[in-house]
Symmetry: C2
Subunit: 938 residues, 2 copies
């Protein structure tokens, strides 16, 4: 908005900052603040505000010099450094702050005009209504100027700057000249300042307690012939006297003005006594305190981004911005602080506290201090304030337009439009509306804290950005400006937050809520901007920290939860083959564990890299569609079984590793001549066991329910072997999901002849009660000879289970169940079977026997090894029982026996499993990890 030239530090940054920082408050509120807070506390008010802006400007300098400075100004710098979410939030806050600031300038200008320069223009008795009326008029005029003549605005800025500098110089001269000025006097009764109006009779001040004087009339009245006077008036020590308003530096005024005179609204200024305007006492219109005054004063220090906003016009932005901005802050801080002390030293305390100059005929106190007379300041401050208003009204719409054009906040998009001449008309309109709201508030003392809040929030973000990037050591964080430090930024941030909350916690909460909403809105709209964000490192650090915390060894039994690795086949189009596996994992994950879906592609990594990425995308899509929050991974391996082995070994990171592998049943194994299909399956079962993980094999995967289906019926667990309790835990977890919620749990266990089945049932019921799992218990008795083969094979395990139940019966002391007898001991019995290697099916044989019912007979025809016949017979018998009891069950959960150690028995192992699960719709075969996963203890 200024001349497009390669400006240097002085013209490009320093002077614009000076012009933006010095504002209306210096002229119309500074004396009052010094009077109310006293020299000491005013000094701290100024110091805190200046320190906040100084620290912020240091942080901003670091951000501005971290890379090529974009042309768009502060908003661009911050949004590019912080990412769209923070950038948008900061941008909107900054926009709102600037818009409301324009109200402040307009109100300030009108206050100077209607109170001090031309009191006669006041139409309403309530001065605020005059502000509202004239403020609106001025706003409309300014908007027209902004819309029609932007070039005028930039010229006016120069004038405005001159006005400010001249005014301040005049004040300084006045301060030293004031010691000889005797003309300004105010009338004081005791300790109470009186309005000049109340003590004037025919234009002459009668500052006396004489019975004929105006003061007497105000404080006394006739009652039944007796004169009754206010007791304050009666006290002789309270004299009426004229005192010099500006006694000058040499007087003792400083001592008198050193301490604070905070006053509650309605009290006489500087005292704790309710006053009365009728008596000519000057009454505080608002309650004052350190923080209230600070909030009113703070906007005097804003404007530090004026230089950065001109980044496009600077010859060397990354040098000029830090130097110019910081110098400007130092200059203005110096002026403010010296003003505090000089005002306190020069001006009479009562007059200082007289906000609207009621004791001096409605004059501008600071104007009387200045040399040569008050009109210099009045005109100067009026023009500079109008100029500031013009600039806010020019800058704010352009900022809004920039935000809108960034397209991070979709609902602002309509404000991105410009007229043919390039003016952001709609944005100007919105700014005018916001500004008008501010004008309707009418009081500078109420508008200023709102601006304070927005700017503090915005500055806080700038400091936070700098601190975070330094602390996170973002590699890209290499500011050329060296004199920043994260502690400075952190102090700046703390100052901003503290000031926000102390000055007004409800405003602060509202501003934070607003920023939060904008942040979340932008995040929700998924603004993925090409400019990246510096905050991402935070998410990264958080994830790393969280993972490192987890990495403290395996969890306690009571914390065991299934962390699933789903081994998913992909077809030739790289689409997942059995998507229901993921659905099932999602249903199990009611236990809120981890889900990783992985696939293996066969081939050479270098050639199939693109395929692996495509497959990963498909898996991610599947995860998203199934509503399962999890991770995916695709591995390219020369051999599928090797690839699966690596997945089983190395998937996950740190504490987020799987402990349970989920896979589908290899349906095709009997229909293909290739023995690999079941080899891969059995190898994976072996690897999973070796890795001490649990394994879930789903048979009938396509019959498993979709996530929106609600099943009713039973889940039947056939508890043949005690396997760490996984058989009990899984249905419990499944039943947390709404698909399985309405299924009842039934547990079947097989009793041997020597078992006491009634006792067994009672024990099992007790066990389940202590596990706090509700289930119906059934004990199935099988004749001894019928299951002898099975018995033989499972003897050890059976004994283990029986022993476990017996242990429970005697358990009153605390038994640690955490180590289960390793089930692997069972497979070690296999080598004792002498004739396993002699027994082979030819693949053809299997191919013929389509139904397992027939197969039993076929088995006899080929006269296989007796052991295996009995084994298969067991499977048939057990299957008969299962089908009989559980044919209507929604799911049958079974133990998955250990695979044979040698490759010879593999085919019969597969056959055994087929026979066992024949005729069942949905089967879940479970193999524990060898550790206890459920406990009766809390």
């Amino acid at each position: 908005m200024f001349q497009k030239a390669n400006l240097g530090t002085l013209l490009g940054v320093y002077l614009p900052c000076i012009q933006n920082i010095f504002g209306v408050l210096l002229f119309v509120r500074m004396t009052w603040i010094v009077g109310m807070a006293g020299a000491l506390e005013s000094f701290f008010i100024v110091l805190i505000c200046c320190l906040t802006t100084l620290l912020t400007s240091i942080s901003m300098s670091a951000i501005a010099t971290n890379g090529v400075v974009p042309a768009g100004g502060a908003y661009f710098m911050i949004s590019r450094a912080l990412g769209p979410e923070f950038g948008g939030a900061v941008g909107v806050l900054f926009y709102l702050g600037t818009s409301v600031a324009s109200s402040m300038y307009i109100i300030g200008a009108i206050e100077i005009l209607a109170l001090y320069m031309a009191p006669s223009i006041a139409i309403f008795d309530d001065m605020f209504n005059n502000y509202r009326l004239y403020g609106t008029v001025v706003l409309i005029l300014l908007c027209i100027v902004v819309f029609i003549g932007v070039s005028f605005v930039s010229k006016f800025a120069t004038l405005s700057l001159c006005c400010v500098i001249i005014s301040i110089l005049c004040i300084y001269i006045g301060i030293f000249a004031a010691s000889v000025d005797n003309s300004l006097e105010v009338c004081v009764l005791g300790d109470r300042l009186l309005t000049s109006e109340s003590v004037k009779v025919n234009g002459t001040i009668w500052c006396t307690k004489n019975k004929t004087g105006p003061i007497f009339n105000h404080y006394c009245h006739e009652d039944n012939g007796t004169t009754i006077c206010d007791h304050y008036f009666v006290q002789e020590s309270n004299e009426a006297r004229l005192v010099r308003g500006i006694p000058g530096l040499a007087s003792g005024a400083f001592k008198q003005n050193f301490h604070n005179y905070y006053t509650e609204a309605g009290d006489i200024i500087g005292s704790e006594i309710p006053g009365s305007n009728r008596r000519g006492e000057i009454i505080a219109d608002i309650t004052t305190s350190f923080m209230i005054l600070l909030a009113i004063y703070f906007p005097s220090c804003t404007g530090i981004m004026a230089g950065s906003n001109r980044s496009g016009d600077l010859a060397d932005a990354s040098k000029s911005i830090p130097v110019g901005t910081i110098l400007a802050i130092v200059t203005t801080s110096f002026v403010y602080i010296t003003c505090v002390f000089f005002f306190a030293a020069c001006i009479e305390g009562h007059l200082l506290r007289d906000k609207y100059g009621e004791s001096i005929d409605g004059g501008l106190t600071i104007g009387f201090l200045a040399w040569p007379n008050e009109w210099v300041i009045m005109i100067g401050s009026f023009l500079s304030t109008l100029g500031a208003g013009l600039q806010s009204l020019t800058g704010a719409p352009r900022l809004l337009q920039a935000i809108a054009k960034d397209n991070v906040i979709p609902f602002l998009n309509i404000f991105g439009a410009t007229t043919k001449k390039g003016e952001p008309f709609r944005a100007l309109l919105l700014t005018a509306v916001i500004s008008e709201i501010g004008i309707l508030i009418a009081s500078l003392d109420y508008v200023a804290p709102i601006i304070t809040m927005f700017f503090l929030m915005c500055y806080g973000f700038v400091n936070m950005a700098c601190a975070l990037q330094t602390l996170l050591r973002t590699p890209n964080w290499r500011p050329r400006f060296r004199f920043y430090h994260w502690t400075l930024s952190l102090i700046g941030l703390s100052l901003c937050i503290t000031l926000m909350f102390i000055s007004s916690w409800y405003y602060a909460l509202a501003a934070i809520a607003l920023a939060f909403c904008i942040y979340k809105y932008i995040e929700y709209k998924g603004a993925e901007k090409e400019w990246g964000d510096g905050i991402r490192g935070l998410a990264m650090s958080a994830a790393r920290y969280a993972l490192l915390r987890l990495q403290e060894g395996p969890p306690h039994t009571k914390n065991w939860r299934p962390q699933l690795l789903v081994l998913m086949k992909v077809d030739e189009n790289l689409q997942p083959k059995y998507p229901k596996l993921v659905t099932f994992a999602g249903q199990l994950k009611a236990g809120k564990g981890l889900t990783i879906v992985s696939s293996v592609l066969e081939g050479n990594y270098i050639e199939r890299y693109a395929d692996s990425q495509a497959a990963k995308l498909n898996l991610d899509k599947l995860l998203k569609e199934s509503g399962v929050k999890g991770f995916s991974d695709v591995n390219v391996a020369t051999k599928t079984s090797d690839g699966l082995c690596y997945l089983v070994q190395n998937t996950g990171l740190g504490g987020l590793k799987h402990n349970t592998v989920v896979m589908g049943w290899p349906y095709g194994w009997r229909h293909t001549d290739d023995e690999r299909s079941y080899k891969i399956f059995i190898d994976t079962v072996r690897n999973v066991s070796a890795g001490q993980m649990a394994l879930l094999v789903l048979k009938g995967i396509n019959q498993f329910p979709e996530s929106n289906v609600k099943l009713r019926g039973t889940i039947d667990v056939w508890w043949i072997v005690h396997d760490g309790g996984l058989l009990m835990l899984l249905p419990f977890l499944l039943r947390q999901d709404k698909s399985w919620k309405n299924c009842k749990l039934r547990i079947f266990t097989v009793a041997q002849v020597e078992d006491n089945s009634i006792e067994m049932k009672k024990d099992l019921q007790m066990y389940l009660y202590q596990l706090r799992i509700q289930a119906e218990v059934n004990v199935i008795e099988m004749a001894g000879n019928d299951i002898s083969a099975y018995t033989y094979e499972r003897t050890l395990m059976m004994e283990q289970r029986t022993e476990m139940l017996q242990q429970m019966r005697v358990k009153k002391t605390e038994i640690t169940l955490d180590t289960v007898p390793e089930e692997d001991t069972e497979s070690s019995t296999d080598p004792t079977l002498p004739d396993r290697n002699q027994f082979t099916f030819t693949p053809q044989n299997i191919h013929k026997t389509k139904s397992t019912g027939q197969m039993g007979n076929n088995l006899f025809n080929v006269k296989p090894d007796n052991m295996n016949v009995r084994r298969m017979h067991t499977a048939v018998r057990l299957n008969e029982s299962i089908v009989e009891k559980s044919h209507e069950a929604q799911m049958v959960i079974l133990n998955l026996p250990a695979p044979p150690k040698t490759s010879a028995g593999e085919e019969s192992y597969m056959e055994f499993l087929e026979v066992l699960t024949e005729g069942l719709d949905r089967v879940l075969m479970v193999r524990g990890s060898g550790r206890e996963v459920i406990t009766i203890y809390s």
Copy 2:
């Protein structure tokens, strides 16, 4: 501590709870609270307190029924459910609460004794000093009783319970009988209650304003013969009159007592006027408000864990605890709430507010309400209060002893000791000391809020435990008590926190700080208890959530930071071979990225599972020793190169995947006949490239500095090919580490004849300035013929680089540098070389040529393909330049050229690299990922 029997719900839980909940406050403060807060607000006070305990007891019931209830009581239940950290913190808070509660009971008992029962025993004028004296005496006596006769305590508990029940029954009877009791009268002047003492003359009450009466004497005095009276006394409307203290239900007292009469300390009770004891006015001794009264009242509702503490004695703890506790709370709540309304309805308002019964000769107001007379209540409350004190003094040391025995807070261990008789003497001593501190505070109104704070904190934790476990869906969270819900627990938790902060935020902060310190202390001491913790799921969820958030695609260039996968060889003892690789990774990680150290073991997974775990432990140890926070992984593969390929592919999870692979140079490749050693290296280079990751190869790894060494000198970058900027970024990151901090960065680039080397230097300096990296730039000119072969090979890349620098020169518009020309195009030029396949070294040849200096000659002798000679010649020439310029550099960073596509050129590729880096101590060869990792934009 009670009889070891299988108790039922009534005897085991209900009655102990009743006895513990009803306490001294009901007798000595309830009337006063009702009077001060009014019936309405008292009702809410009671309601809020009871609601808090009710919700807590629901949460506690869920925790108690989640598994076999341990014998140790509430502390055990909570610590086992929440883990040692939370358990310890809750335990200590609970202990402190109970200990301070014993002070409260003792002070209460003394108050009843010294104020109401036997006022004559008072020795000091200040009643609090009497409390202190007698309190200490009673404390000592009770401690002796506890130490000598625990059996007496349990018997006394029964007596105490009887006393409570009888007292409450008497109160109820009294309430209905009171309507006919006229005997109790109090003297009221206007609206001011007068002490009975002040209106008594010779034992008779003179409640009259007569000039001879005591009231006149108090309110008036003679002054110069004129009688001057207080204006309150003068007003005729303020009559002196006797009113009935307990007018009974039928009177209109309830209406009068409906609203609050909060009073500031020093004011006359129920008014806002400062009073004077001298005039017989009853003055509020503490300021009251809703929250202050709530804090004083809350201990009346504690004691809900009395049943749970008896868990060891219960026949069926998981049934009795919920039912008994909740019933007890309902019962006591009912009593409290009816008491509130009955007190408000029966008792005169002034008398209600008279805390110490000063208007009724120092009588216990509630005593006069009761039937048949006040002694029932006085004796009953005295005995029951003493009983409660005894129990606190018995329970607290045992709790402390239990915590000490758990060994979670080492410095408490000395309190785990017991005497020969099994008494925890030391713990009793500490309890007595804490109790004595409470007694020295002396005022019930100051001690009660402290207890409130401890118990609220403790109850908050119980609610939090229940809510967390429900929300995290811990698989082990299966409480048999069904009527809990996380919303209830959350409301309970919010209530606890809100009450804590509203009632006294500094106490609350202190309590939270205390709990936090205990938590951190236990965590620091690393208490890994066998009982696990239910909170672990939180860390898990946090890690999962953080990772899922990250998984949003690759980061923007400005967020790129090296995430290292260090490929580590392990020797036959499974020890890492080049630990310096991890040191180097740590030095690079100043960029705070991820580090994963992985190894491959050759063999079969099932057989080498144990080895892989051992190797992983060694890697973890190495990480810990190097002070690098990272992860480790070991993969068992049939072939090492396959294993490395899988690691490169699948290490990491979600957003925490590596983008840079670090590996050592395969030193042995020339000394072994096995061609695998360099095959594996080149395969890995290829795989890393295929995976679009960056690669760092360290040569001279053993010369790399330890983490505590500080190097001085230069880091020399030989910028031959622009490779995404990694060459610039790496030294910048290294220099963040203290080992490399003092090294200066020099960048060398090779100019071709057609390059303008001065222009080139200027451009490069400008580029580095914009990158904000400080480095010295050197351009090395090489004669055209000298490097023609190199030129030929690298032409494309050179052109890319030159073009890039030129682009920068014209860059004023925003150029997106994010996509680098893929370096792979370079290797595609290789196949155009016609004679690559003809050129082979035999391994023998290489074996002979030990120094590369000779090898150059040898190369000519074997007359290899001209192309390769020139290529090698280039390497020699380049190496000469590097050695000349950088022989003193602390590290040389070089581009790693792309490996040959076919296996034929592999050996010459290795030879080329050897020649290139000959004579350099520490070399880092870098290959970019094909994407830009550094940007001039912020």
